[in-house]
């Protein structure tokens, strides 16, 4: 198990910065900004220890914090890590770094917002380097990427022997930013200094798998498993890697071994369930999902697993049953005040609704949830709204409702002009591509859709645009990329079976890709 599930990015691009002399300016706009120090100044100032200092007045809180990082970052017992962080902030309510870490790792939007506010409130009590760390993790999650990257690099320069810090940075770069080369370089450097630092081995394997070098991942997993035979995460990671590579029997085998080692390692339980779902055995998947649901106390995680459980009905084309289960979940999400999940549930229902006009009503319901007064961060609200509008553009394009596609694009265009979120930008490009397709401007739609290369809906449209623009080889490549996606997202459940069927049909008829 490792971080947020992403898929390989086949259309990588680089962003460069123009830089001039001027210490501290990269962090402009950051809160709790330090007096200008500069990276070299930071690197030159010898740190008192090998690791970033941790400021707390409580020995218990310090111990809980250390346990939390050991569980969450090294051994990947995610729920246990969260429990330890909560204990740490309880033992020392002024512990800014623990508040920030809890905000970063939690899946609960209310907790995230509350803990970021507390981290900001007590940040002045922390050391300058802890403030840099908070600036990085806050910026990384909330869109202040330029100061976040500068803070991360300053810390890496100042603490070259802090393996956990380097591992966290590389994980963020590979899993969240698709900055694979950077992540790989950091991880290789860590492993060169300490070949037994296994969390880095784990992340390097994921980095390879995500960056399109999947054959490099299994040998690292073999090392990881051999080195920690009594730990469940190496087997769990191996399972996830094999599932990403489409080898479902091997994935099942590794997930099962992880559960034999520790039956409470719940990420393997859900991994097992999702692998059955991807294999098409929905009945078995449901049985396994129910065990995963019972195995977590995190309320947002529990609901996420229940969404996956309900999705099995859609996967086996039981659309009415699926909608019934999803409607129940929407009511429960509302009662539990989990608005992002509630909006997502309506979006999932829309995607599988065979009636486009009814699907638009589902999406309206999701959008309505986001306009209500809920305790969620602006970033989470914005990303889900962008997802809803992107899905709306997709559904209306498929249904030939060109005016409705333009209507979905309009608010996304406005959002894209102010938001620094990559996800919002990608949703905008996808919706714009869909709108251009309604005007039969396929050549113009292609580069727009290529800006959202991780979304199965955009890849579906891209394959068709390429086909209609007279690029059958590219269309076939896109369809092959899409068909190879093996993850738990609703977009995958919707689009990948269609892509696989189209590929199969093409291989029989020798026809072009992208038609539906």
């Amino acid at each position: 198990m490792r971080g947020i599930m992403r898929i390989r990015n086949p259309f990588l691009y680089a962003i460069v910065a123009l830089v001039i002399t001027g210490a501290g300016a990269a962090a402009a706009g950051a809160q709790a900004q330090e007096p200008a120090t500069g990276a070299n100044a930071a690197a030159d100032a010898a740190p008192a220890a090998d690791t970033v200092p941790v400021t707390t007045s409580s020995a218990d809180a310090r111990l809980d914090y250390e346990h939390a990082l050991l569980y969450h970052e090294d051994l990947l017992f995610v729920d246990k890590g969260l429990v330890s962080l909560r204990k740490a902030v309880k033992a020392d309510p002024h512990f800014a770094l623990a508040h920030a870490m809890l905000a970063y790792f939690t899946s609960d939007p209310m907790e995230e917002r509350r803990e970021y506010a507390l981290a900001e409130k007590y940040i002045a009590k922390a050391s300058p380097d802890e403030r840099l760390l908070v600036r990085w993790i806050d910026g990384a999650k909330n869109g202040g990427l330029v100061p976040a990257i500068a803070a991360m690099n300053d810390l890496l320069a100042k603490y070259p022997n802090d393996k956990r810090l380097a591992n966290m940075a590389a994980e963020w770069l590979c899993s969240n930013q698709a900055a694979y080369e950077h992540g790989e370089r950091i991880l290789k450097n860590v492993l060169q200094k300490d070949p037994t630092y296994f969390p880095a081995l784990n992340n390097l394997a994921y980095c390879y798998a995500l960056s399109g070098q999947p054959s490099l991942a299994p040998p690292l997993m073999d090392q990881y498993v051999a080195a920690l035979p009594a730990q469940p995460n190496p087997q769990d990671s191996y399972g996830e890697i094999m599932r990403m590579l489409g080898d479902y029997p091997a994935a099942l085998e590794h997930y099962s071994k992880a559960l034999q080692i520790d039956s409470s390692f719940n990420t393997s339980q859900v991994g097992l369930a999702s692998t059955y779902a991807l294999m098409g055995d929905q009945q078995r998947a449901r049985v396994e999902y129910l065990k995963a649901i019972a195995g977590t106390k995190e309320r947002a995680t529990k609901l996420d697993y229940r969404i996956l459980w309900a999705m099995t009905y859609y996967r086996e084309n039981q659309l009415e049953r699926g909608s019934r289960e999803f409607a129940k979940l929407a009511v429960e999400a509302h009662a539990a005040d989990l608005p992002v999940e509630e909006a997502e549930i309506h979006r999932d229902m829309a995607l599988f609704n065979p009636d486009p006009r009814a699907a638009l009503r589902d999406l309206d319901a999701g959008r309505q949830v986001l306009t209500e007064n809920h305790e969620i961060s602006q970033g989470s609200r914005e990303i889900e709204l962008a997802n809803i509008l992107q899905t709306r553009a997709f559904i209306t394009e498929r249904a030939g409702m060109a005016d409705a596609t333009q209507k979905a694009l309009k608010p996304l265009t406005a959002m894209s002009q102010t938001s620094r979120s990559n996800l919002v930008q990608q949703s905008y490009h996808s919706a714009n591509g869909a709108a251009l397709m309604t005007e039969e401007k396929y050549d113009d739609a292609i580069p727009e859709l290529m800006e959202d290369p991780q979304n199965p809906l955009s890849l579906t449209l891209l394959a068709e645009a390429q086909s209609k623009a007279g690029q059958p080889v590219d269309a076939q490549k896109t369809l092959t990329t899409l068909a190879a996606i093996s993850d738990e997202r609703v977009e995958t459940a919707f689009a990948v079976p269609q892509a696989r069927a189209a590929l199969k049909e093409n291989s029989v008829t020798g026809g072009q890709a992208g038609g539906h």
């Binding site: 962003i15 460069v16 910065a17 830089v19 002399t21 001027g22 990276a39 803070a151 930013q177 620094r420």
Partner: protein, 83 residues
């Protein structure tokens, strides 16, 4: 960084490099090519007025990131983004 030269000068990277290295170029500021972003950052940090081009993931707080058309890297419409 090849695409930056290609984008700004509208020529291939090698042609662009030759243009920028041409000693007859009527400009006082020299153009220096170094082998890594870390070197660029070091040179820019220690040379007031110098401008460097680096991958955004290599920036540090020792340098100032210049806005282009009032946009920072990752802002919508930022121009120095490419394959």
């Amino acid at each position: 960084m090849k695409f930056v030269i290609e984008k700004i000068l509208g020529v291939t990277f090698e042609e662009g490099k030759a243009i920028l290295n041409d000693p007859s170029r009527k400009i006082t500021a020299p153009v220096v090519f170094v082998s890594s972003d870390e070197e660029v950052i070091k040179i820019v940090e220690s040379s007031p007025g110098a401008i460097g081009v680096v991958d955004v993931y290599n920036i540090t707080s020792g340098v100032k990131v210049i806005k282009i058309d009032d946009k920072q890297p990752f802002d919508p419409g930022y121009s120095l983004k490419g394959h």
